[in-house]
């Protein structure tokens, strides 16, 4: 961003001679030229669908009466909000737990890789990324097998009499949260690693030279410098985890359905497109609000740096 601004600024302060003006204009166009492929992509594949989604969310009608038509039907919003409030709250609660657990797991891990990984850094990082090489759904299905009531884990523990026979993990909230955490761990780990990797190790040594304890050095030097990574990790984990539906569908049971499952049901099996769209819009707005509150608390500067880090 900063570079683009300086390019534009440079062009604006260019001299008045015609030759330079042409050059200036061309230079002024460069950033737009650079932005246009991405911008065009976003307009077609983000902005347009977004507008369509909002448009759909205000429709009424039904499949059996000849389809849906646009009627400014705001009731879609109030109706889904009152009916699915619990699912929104549940999704956000699950997602918060997921994000914190993932941060707790990923921070020490990436910290160690960044500071002590040495020549193994990339291999270790690759190991974190390994799950990405397997389809999301297959990975989650494997969990069903691993955590099965008589599967390798629970079956063994039950065999040793360490667990009661009717103990189970699947079809509980624990399984859903654990599944999401596992599936989103790379999203948490990568930005953290990038931020920690960039920290100048000499700063830590300098802190120690100034008689900081290891803990103080971490708290006063490493932690603040890694905050952009934490911010990015939080966003990259929290936002998609809230809308996740695969884990709840495959690992959950009664009472663990998340808002993503409801949206999927509405869209694919109930064919209730307006309500599905209304739920999506609400979810999006909620996420934007939560993310901006979060950015405000952490400071916009951190946010920008976090964005840059990613």
């Amino acid at each position: 961003m900063a570079e683009e601004e300086s390019v534009v600024g440079g062009a604006a302060s260019g001299g008045p001679t015609s030759g330079r003006r042409t050059l200036g204009r061309r230079r002024r166009l460069v950033p737009y030229g650079l932005l246009s492929p991405g911008g065009g992509y976003l307009v077609v594949f983000f902005l347009l669908p977004l507008v369509l989604m909002i448009y759909t969310s205000l429709q009424s009608g039904g499949l059996l009466s000849g389809g849906f038509s646009f009627t400014w039907d705001w009731r879609n919003y109030s109706s889904v909000l009152s009916r699915y409030e619990a699912h929104f709250i549940r999704s956000i609660a699950y997602s918060l737990i997921v994000t914190f657990v993932a941060l707790l797991l990923a921070y020490p891990m990436t910290y160690w890789i960044a500071f002590y990984g040495g020549k193994w850094k990339s291999s270790l990082l690759l190991m974190i990324l390994m799950p990405f090489f397997v389809s999301f759904v297959i990975r989650t299905l494997q969990w069903k097998f691993i955590l099965g009531d008589n599967g390798p884990v629970l079956g063994t523990l039950k065999g040793f009499g360490l667990l009661p026979d009717d103990f189970r993990v699947l079809a509980t909230a624990v399984a859903v949260v654990a599944g999401i955490t596992y599936n989103f761990l790379p999203f948490t780990a990568l930005p953290l690693y990038v931020a920690l990797e960039r920290i100048d190790k000499a700063l830590v040594e300098a802190a120690k030279d100034l008689y900081a304890s290891r803990w103080q050095a971490f708290r006063k030097v490493v932690w603040p410098l890694s905050l952009p990574g934490v911010f990015a990790a939080f966003l990259l984990t929290f936002v998609p985890a809230t809308g996740d539906y695969v884990n709840a569908a495959l690992l959950g049971g009664p009472g663990t359905r998340m808002i993503g499952n409801i949206i999927q049901d509405k869209f694919l099996t109930e064919n209730n497109y307006p309500e599905a769209a209304a739920l999506s819009v609400i979810l999006m707005i909620a996420m934007v609000i939560l993310a901006s509150v979060y950015a405000r608390i952490l400071g916009t500067e951190e946010a920008t740096r976090a964005a840059a880090a990613v």
């Binding site: 009466s65 008589n150 359905r257 694919l268």
Partner: protein
Amino acid sequence: MDDRQYRIGDRRMNEIMRRRLTRRSMLKGAGMGVAGFSLASFLAACGGDGNGTGGGGGNGGATGATGATGAVPSGFDIAEIYAGEPGSSVNFANWPFYLDQSKDETGQVYNPSLALFKEQTGIDVNYEDVINSNEEFFGRLRPVLEAGDSTGWDIIVITNGRIFTALALNEWVYPLDPSRRPNFDANAASWAKDPFYDPGNTYGMAWQSGITGIGYNSDLTNGPITKLDDLANPDKVGQGMVFMLTYDMPDFVMINLGIDPKTSGPDEWKEAAAWLQMQRDSGTVRTYGGNEYLQELQNGNLSACMAWSGDVLYSNIWLLYDTLEFVFPEDGALLWIDNMMIPAGAENPVGAMQVMDFYYDPEVATMVTEWVLYMSPVTATRELILRDADTAEEEGARGRANKLRATADSPYLYPDEEFLSRTSFGRALETDEEAAEWDAIFLPISQG
């Protein structure tokens, strides 16, 4: 016929078939949902006045549309749609693993019945198993159909239910030409002819059909499971060990409570919902969903579940899972039918009708049934399967002969009238308001 020997004789092939089945059950999950869900408004013609409009559909007259009924809508002229010669190819969209398959000498997978069709007619059938769920498939076609364009398909397979109804209601499928289905007229089972949701088979001809009943793992239950109430009894099925098919369960429960879903209203729906809530409160339910229950049942994660006949039968007869049982519940079971339809704008409706009728040739239908193990709309297939069993016996393929006999003897493939009388189709919701009310009653149970 080598192919079938290959399939049955070889243990590894059985293993492959098991995987195929598992996947099919997964994919069918969503689809069967529709059947039971029956957000389907089955046209005004269903239920009471089905006969009145059914006759109209039978003659293929292009007139006489009476709003949302099974009669041919005025927008279509059958003579015009089916004019001329068949095109050189037919595009056929079906569900995965729903057609006989074999391997040729080079190991290439092909469909013997389609090869036979090509041999007889010279028409190429471009068969693709792209339908994973009625809703999803319909969702992809809808914008095209709405715009009045061709979907690219000449045949699609849709379960009786909401999508079937929506397609018919909105004139998004062509009415079929009754003069172009001699095999169907001669061989179709009684249940495949003139079904209540499609009087006179105006829009669809059955591909296969099946039953939603109860499957259980006798290792994990306390005695045999025989009725619906067992699924809400922790002493019988344990805590958190029961799987329920979300979209089949309202109708399934109603049937078992002695309510005919077809004539049910909000009061009866609430009664079924109360049972479902009671079941949920009893703590027996593990998940509400639509797929892979079979794998879960095999893994021992489920003691009992709502299940589709073909899936459990296959495990039992062909894969020899002898602890897995399929039960026709004491008080009834849910019936559904998958139908071949011709989407509006299809480029080769004449060829499509040829293909559809071809599968009502008993020999051809047998090829399919021996492979898919669902209920064939051609009853004569039973004798032919027994004949193949004898042939297998003569050839020394004892195991295969036994399996074919078990297949032919299964009441789930060849139900008698008494059996069918204990099944019922799902509720036919007729308006969006009704559908909304239905949703409001049943969805909170599975979604809560």
